[in-house]
């Protein structure tokens, strides 16, 4: 592992912070976010540091619990994307031949479809639960990962030591686990982090548009409700209701992106040299 740049550490710290908040939510949050703990639209006070929303729920608690949602999505959708990408890309790269061709056609096809409209279409018809959202995001993002995984698997497969292992009589699963997987390890890490970032952005975006799970209080949903309030920008209410979740989403995405950049420089030394 080459030395990681300053910005990667910044990203890691942010991520760690966010994770800590999510895990410790019950301890940190002053109230249950679903409880109607105050009057609607209260201004920030000692009892409610960020005030309350339009039905009287504490915004700070909503914010803290929102971290859970975002991180869950990040992890689940990121993992889902990578797993699907690994499966398809790995098979294609390893098997080669007609299987490779067929799978790559599929990948190309999926990549040529416009993302957000598809996402909206699916979300509309599949329902807006969180699991569906995660599934749909994974479903739409795996092709990119598949492509990259395939390229790498192909190059490793050509290597001498893989062919030698086959010569010694090694089975395919053995070769895959013992030689190919470790070689694409960094790639998987990078894919996980970047997919997670995209997933968080997508989920928040969907919620923002009103296509998210209405039962799950995510940051995107908070923004949606805030924007539903007429004249939100004309008072300074936006400062404690709209801005905090927006900021949190942005910081989480940024954190993941920075970590991704650091990992990418590991994968691609040429780019690292240029950038420095």
């Amino acid at each position: 592992m080459r030395r990681l740049g300053g910005e990667v550490w910044f990203g890691l710290i942010l991520l760690a912070l966010c994770s800590a908040v999510a895990v410790l939510a019950p301890v940190l949050a002053p109230y249950d976010p679903r409880a109607f703990s105050g009057q609607p639209l209260e201004r920030p006070s000692r009892a409610h540091p960020l005030g309350t929303n339009d039905v009287g729920q504490d915004i700070l608690s909503e914010l803290i619990y929102g971290a859970r949602v975002s991180l869950t999505v990040a992890l689940a959708a990121g993992a889902g994307t990578v797993l699907l990408g690994l499966l398809v890309g790995g098979m294609a790269g390893y098997a080669g031949g007609w299987l490779d061709q067929a799978l790559m056609r599929l990948v190309d096809g999926m990549l040529s479809l416009p993302r957000l409209p598809l996402l909206i279409l699916f979300a509309t018809f599949l329902g807006s639960g969180l699991p569906q959202t995660i599934a749909v995001i994974s479903f739409l993002f795996w092709p990119t990962t598949a492509r990259v995984v395939r390229a790498q698997v192909q190059s490793v497969r050509q290597r001498g030591y893989v062919r030698m292992a086959r010569q010694f009589g090694a089975s395919h699963p053995y070769v895959f686990l013992r030689h190919i997987l470790p070689a694409i390890g960094p790639l998987i890490a990078y894919g996980l982090v970047t997919s997670a970032g995209h997933a968080v952005a997508m989920e928040a975006g969907l919620a923002f548009l009103g296509l998210g799970d209405p039962l799950v209080k995510s940051w995107g949903l908070m923004m949606r409700f805030a924007l539903n309030l007429p004249g939100i920008f004309l008072t300074d209410r936006w400062l404690w209701w709209l801005l905090p979740p927006a900021l949190c989403v942005t910081l989480l995405i940024l954190a993941l992106a920075l970590i991704g950049i650091g990992l990418e420089q590991n994968l691609n030394p040429r780019l690292a040299r240029r950038w420095r």
Binding site: G205, L227, F233, I253
Partner: protein, 328 residues
């Protein structure tokens, strides 16, 4: 791949989308379309005129292949069904909303591309300098900030606080314009914030793309030779470096179009801009299926067309892609 073959692939993709659009609601559990006509469901459409139109359009009592056929026929003749919410033909709504989106997206693409090409090239030329490093960091930031966040901030600053620009809409409601110029100015005023937001949203990624592509080009042998020829700096930068960096840039134009459309949906929602994005948003909120489907189709068609155009431009720009072998 020749132009003809590419066109065919795009048409094929569009057909896949069409089919997907057709199948999805019909294959899902809970049968959302049937629910529209079922008095016991919450989605039941009360207005009998609309209900009749929908029943006729979807033809749910016919066999599936026949439904498909009628659906395709409808697409060809421009019949996309009827809006539940507004009781108007979907096609009419689309025609009313599409130009706004095209205006928004077109403006943003133009400005973001121009800016990215200019600054990206200069930044690559001066790579490693403070200016370059700063711009790269700023672009990474910009590329990752969600578009609605940036939009919110701008709306707040210019719309609510400073009151320089309008908060919402494509033009002043119910306005009557004494001249075409006045109309253009009003539309322009309303366009500024949304277009600016979308431009910024795309600028980050585009800048990085141009800069990195240019840095790669600068490392090529022919750049050294061009310099050895004693060509002036301008010619080196724009005539050779940028001209070559354009190739990967245009190759990504398809992705840019997708990016633009995504951004447009959020921005139109945020700024209440009367484009397709807003249409989709409102229809989704109201579960107005025919409009959602129709809008989705149109947006997909636009994106695919943009992809195709990008391919054509690419063919023009890179002589190596054209068929025709060695001359010698």
């Amino acid at each position: 791949m020749g132009v003809g073959r590419r066109a065919f692939v795009y048409l094929l993709t569009f057909w896949v989308i069409l089919t997907l659009n057709f199948l999805l609601p019909r294959l899902l559990p809970g049968d959302p379309l049937a629910a529209l006509l079922d008095p016991s469901s919450s989605d039941y459409v009360y207005d009998p005129e609309v209900r009749a139109a929908l029943a006729a359009y979807y033809g749910l009592d016919r066999p599936l292949p026949e439904q498909y056929g009628r659906y395709l026929l409808g697409i060809l003749t421009g019949d996309l069904g009827r809006s539940i919410r507004l009781n108007r033909p979907v096609a009419e709504l689309v025609v009313g909303h599409l130009p706004w989106t095209l205006l928004l997206v077109g403006t943003a693409l133009l400005f973001s591309s121009a800016l990215a090409l200019l600054t990206g090239t200069e930044s690559a030329w001066r790579r490693g300098s403070w200016a370059d490093r700063g711009l790269v960091s700023a672009s990474i930031l910009l590329a990752n900030v969600p578009v609605y966040f940036a939009g919110m901030m701008l709306l707040l600053l210019f719309g609510a606080r400073l009151r320089w620009l309008p908060l919402a809409g494509g033009r002043t409601p119910f306005a009557r314009y004494p001249s075409a110029l006045a109309a253009a100015l009003d539309i322009g005023r309303h366009l500024i914030l949304p277009a600016l937001t979308l431009t910024l949203a795309m600028l980050g990624a585009k800048f990085l793309l141009v800069r990195n592509a240019t840095v790669n080009v600068l490392g090529e042998d022919f750049m050294l030779v061009a310099r050895a020829k004693g060509l002036p700096e301008g010619r080196l930068k724009w005539g050779h470096a940028l001209r070559n960096a354009l190739l990967p840039f245009v190759a990504h134009l398809a992705a840019h179009a997708g990016m633009a459309v995504t951004g447009a949906v959020f921005i139109e929602t945020l700024f209440s801009y009367p484009g397709m994005g807003r249409l989709i948003f409102e229809s989704v909120t109201a579960r107005d299926y025919p409009v959602i489907q129709g809008a989705f189709l149109v947006v997909s068609a636009v994106v695919l067309t943009a992809n195709f155009l990008a391919d054509l431009i690419n063919l023009r720009l890179d002589p190596r892609l054209r068929e025709g072998g060695a001359v010698g």
